[in-house]
Subunit: 332 residues, 2 copies
């Protein structure tokens, strides 16, 4: 294993330290608990928190900032954040208007966020609501989940709900309903060309032959729908895009946001090849693309491959997608 | 070789098509010549063009937009853009105020940009000036260059010169001088953990043993200073950061912009581990970081590793770094 790390034990701490060092004016954190939160003063808004195992960067700590998340709770690599970190984060970012937990559907994450919610209720702490995100159409259940997994579609939930939370007077209940509505309208599916290597294990999480791809892979390398022989981009992107389209289903005259999400080790150029193919499919099906998002949004360490997400839009979603963010992951 | 491509021949075309499909309101292009240019109307400014072989995305086509480049000329993977594409791009984006070519120091790129400049002069076309960028401190000459290579420091040149070019009344000569000034104040060095695989060759460009790293690697996998055994992040990042600091040299009380540039296949989390280490070194040396840039800015396909760039700042550089851009590579 060759990585830019000091040790498997320090990898999450060192990464979050680098994040704080690089954003001293905007972010604060409790590094020993792997909590990152907004430093800029904000008042009178519902706080938005997400969290999951590390290894999916920029998801989630790199989305903490104005217009998106108010705090992120990182776990160890591919393991849920701790109960007490979630409780602490909620207390730190609550401004008396309550806290919304946005949680991708993995058993460990759900359990710890649910326990944190109960503990906060027991302590008379901030009001909490939780929305589970489950946009992955690949499989019904997986190694890590009962039901569908939450994958890159979660980013659309954070973006839209985070934007709305900045508007005056928006309450916890309406933000929860908005999050549910976004989740109900987003679908995703991905594939892996190459497995990822966790720092602790030091070898690939699963084995793929030199001519194989894992179709419908999960964010931790969980098996997908099937393992197939490698295909040209046109064919593999068509398979996953059509699976996404048919699931909601997305139909003629729908307007959508399109996300091509790299899994961590795939160059941006290849993601744009995928984007061009999806645009051709959507044009043929008369589904209108409002905006295209191409980047590494929700990754699996150094896994190679990508996912395609579609979000069916309404006027409010469009307005909220376009509102500005101020988050650490950026170019300039 | 497993990549999200249709064929080695179509990879650049398909990528640039995806870029145009994803940005229909802002970008136009001549795909058969691999030219991408700004579609938004802009008047009365000097045009900024860069170009090089493909495989370094987002460099350069993904930096075309307000506040940065007005056009980019992409070559085939790791090969210079053609003479006639450069000439055509200059004619497309010129608004009567002249064109500045920003060219990283590689023999093929220099030759074609210089010939294009001569041809435009011969034809009585737009006035052209060229600035060669050579920020890499690793080696004096390389397989692809006489003199130092141009690497990720080029992005600071595009950003600062592009921002300045949007100001009223700025002429070609002053932009050329500004580009030279940025280049003189930026230094970079990188290392590879893993080679890259070009679509045409289908196998790694160079071989690295399972415990080796290439220190001072070039953007095309050219050999660097030396091949060494793999080291913890603290040590390898210290070696390259100190090489960068000592070269200018950067000294106590200098104010700098710091860029941690991923080479394409390294996850963002590892880049932030590197960022934290560089911050510690700079703090110890009393060099003040004005702003930190961490992302994949100038890559080598799927190469794993990163580079560290430092730019010594003055008040004008700081102002221009902070001015907004509207370019296709982004998150939201």
């Amino acid at each position: 294993m060759k990585k830019i790390i000091n040790s498997a034990d320090s990898v999450v701490y060192d990464m979050l330290k680098g994040l704080l060092d690089s954003n001293p004016d905007k972010l604060a954190g409790v590094l020993e608990k792997r909590i990152i939160y907004r430093k800029d003063p904000y008042l009178n808004k519902v706080a938005i928190i997400s969290g999951s195992g590390s290894g999916h960067e920029p998801d989630q700590a790199f989305y903490v900032g104005k217009g998106m998340l108010d705090a992120a709770c990182a776990g160890p690599v591919f393991a849920a954040p701790t109960l007490d970190a979630i409780v602490d984060a909620a207390k730190i970012v609550d401004r008396g208007r309550g806290v919304l937990f946005l949680v991708k559907n993995y058993t460990g994450d759900r359990a710890n966020f649910e326990m944190a919610s109960e503990m906060l209720q027991f302590e008379g702490g901030p009001s909490v609501e939780t929305v589970i995100i489950n946009d992955d159409v690949a499989v019904k259940d997986s190694t890590f989940t009962a039901g569908r997994r939450g994958v890159a579609g979660a980013i659309f939930v954070y973006k839209i709900v985070g934007a709305k939370s900045e508007e005056a007077g928006v309450n916890l209940k309406s933000l929860k309903e908005l999050a549910i509505q976004v989740n109900e309208n987003v679908r995703s599916m991905g594939f892996a060309l190459k497995s990822c290597t966790t720092p602790a294990k030091g070898s690939p999480t699963f084995d793929l032959g030199p001519d194989e791809i894992e179709l419908g892979v999960g964010l931790h390398g969980e098996p997908g729908r099937e393992r197939i022989k490698v295909l040209p981009a046109n064919e593999i992107i068509s398979i996953i895009t059509n699976a996404v389209i048919e699931d909601l289903p997305f139909v003629e005259n729908d307007e959508v946001a399109l996300m091509i999400n790299g899994l961590g080790g795939t160059p941006i150029g290849e993601l744009y090849i995928a984007a061009g193919i999806v645009h051709d499919i959507l044009k043929y099906k008369k589904i209108k693309v409002f905006k295209t998002y191409v980047n590494n949004f929700c990754t699996s360490l150094d896994m190679e491959g990508c996912s395609v997400s579609l979000l069916k839009l309404n006027e409010e979603f469009k307005k909220l997608l376009l509102s500005p963010v101020d988050i650490p992951i950026k170019y300039f």
